[in-house]
Symmetry: C2
Amino acid sequence: MDALCAFQLTEALKGAIELDVFTHIAAGAVTASAIAERANASERGVRILCDYLTIRGFLGKEDGRYSCSPTAAVFLDKRLPSYIGSIANFLANDRLIKSYRNLAGAARKGGTVATSTVSPNDPVWVEFARSMAPFLGMVAGVMAPIVATPGRAQKVLDVAAGHGLFGLSVAKANPSATVYGTDWVDVLKVAVENATALGVADRYHTIPGSAFDVEFGTGYDLVLVPNFLHHFDPATCETFLSTVGRALAPGGRVVTVEFVPDEGRVTPPHAAMFSLVMLCTTPAGDAYTFAELESMFRRAGFPRNRLRVAGPAGPQVLISQR
Amino acid sequence: MDALCAFQLTEALKGAIELDVFTHIAAGAVTASAIAERANASERGVRILCDYLTIRGFLGKEDGRYSCSPTAAVFLDKRLPSYIGSIANFLANDRLIKSYRNLAGAARKGGTVATSTVSPNDPVWVEFARSMAPFLGMVAGVMAPIVATPGRAQKVLDVAAGHGLFGLSVAKANPSATVYGTDWVDVLKVAVENATALGVADRYHTIPGSAFDVEFGTGYDLVLVPNFLHHFDPATCETFLSTVGRALAPGGRVVTVEFVPDEGRVTPPHAAMFSLVMLCTTPAGDAYTFAELESMFRRAGFPRNRLRVAGPAGPQVLISQR
């Protein structure tokens, strides 16, 4: 019964983020009536929502006064730079949630029965670029020291750049790096905004269009392929990686950030669960094991592959060389 | 992030129930390909779904062979009388899920911003009567010995009877009981089916229509009000209970089955979380504390009220007398 009602947690947290409930509480409005006043909401609605969030561990409640949990206080108080509440706009996006509605249908077919997220110019990637930036900026920050070569010129290609932060994190870590980002034209506007905000716009260039069709150019020391391969079937990935190989400078590397489940496919949980997202939102994507990724890379001309895992829940980074 | 993705668990479990995944596994189809064949689904889709359910604890997986968790083996194997998988059709009902989509809107308004479930002849209650019967039959079975008076004639009114099982459990426990069920006309068809199946149709009568408008008749020894009051505001409940009072025989009792949170409204978790369901699906319903229920009953002419709790997670049964 809890599992069948789990969707309520998604919607309650999303609703509370939309109403800035955590921010209001952190700012001192701790009763249902005070929160309701600041959120322009009904006291009854706020009371019920905050009680639910208390039961689910996002708030505390004592004598009718609410408090933020330690996690909520850090990540859901809009006044702090650590705020990541915008991720609700993508993770619990109405259209994406609809993709899971007929999950039995997706299992029958073996792929999405909704609008695929790999269609050209899908606007969901603009939402992704805006909403997920605070979270993926942290991931990119973990990756950057693994792949940047400060002091040495580095020509970098960031495939399906989105928010741009993977490439931009390298540009920040290496003042001698120049970054080329590819993505749909509207998505790249977000990447350019971020490049400007980070003060590296002069070293950031865009290549708008499909990652499968655009001309990457050549001579790249580093090609970043963050959270991209999982959207496609292995044959498509191999063809794509062969193209990437031709864009590399001698000695260049491809760095993939991925969800990489163990061989049994049920650990680690978050990487392994990601397969379901691909089943429901793409025709043939998957979370690939290291053996599967290595096989794709080998066939595409990259015999040397190693997996770097940044912490137990950190990003899984695959470094591939010719 | 887990909370924002919690909806995936609801949809995955619902999809697996729809495909009879647990039944196929329990019946010996334990690989993705064998399950896929029986479920008429793709192996890839079944593999991804079953891996996800393994991570979430509903299945085990060893060397590519799946097994049901102890809970799934008892409750989700369709071949067993203990199967309750149909509850997914109500708890994760598409229309009801939509009621939570704009939860911030419901919190602002203090009530549902979707189609209310308390509208006349709402077809969702037919779905409820069919789907929730296996689960609520167990609840009714816990309640019956508390309220039935075997060997003594008992005229019973079952308000908003739904599946009918609360009244029917009394009819089963007391061969001298006669039960009158009220609900929308289409819902009562399900109750009559159940009365027939339980062999007590000759002692089961129906009063179709709104519980607020129909003529109950008089002389009832027992009026059951199971999971009804929470749909309405306290004033509406009081008026309704006054009407119920006039239908009672001298010494008669009103028995309410409810979600009754403690005064702090955040314990016990399942009773307290139920408020959110009422916020999202009704204009003014709530999970009422015992003090609130007692106040409604007192004003309606019932000064004697006591709460019986059948086990830590069992139904909360309020017994009220004039």
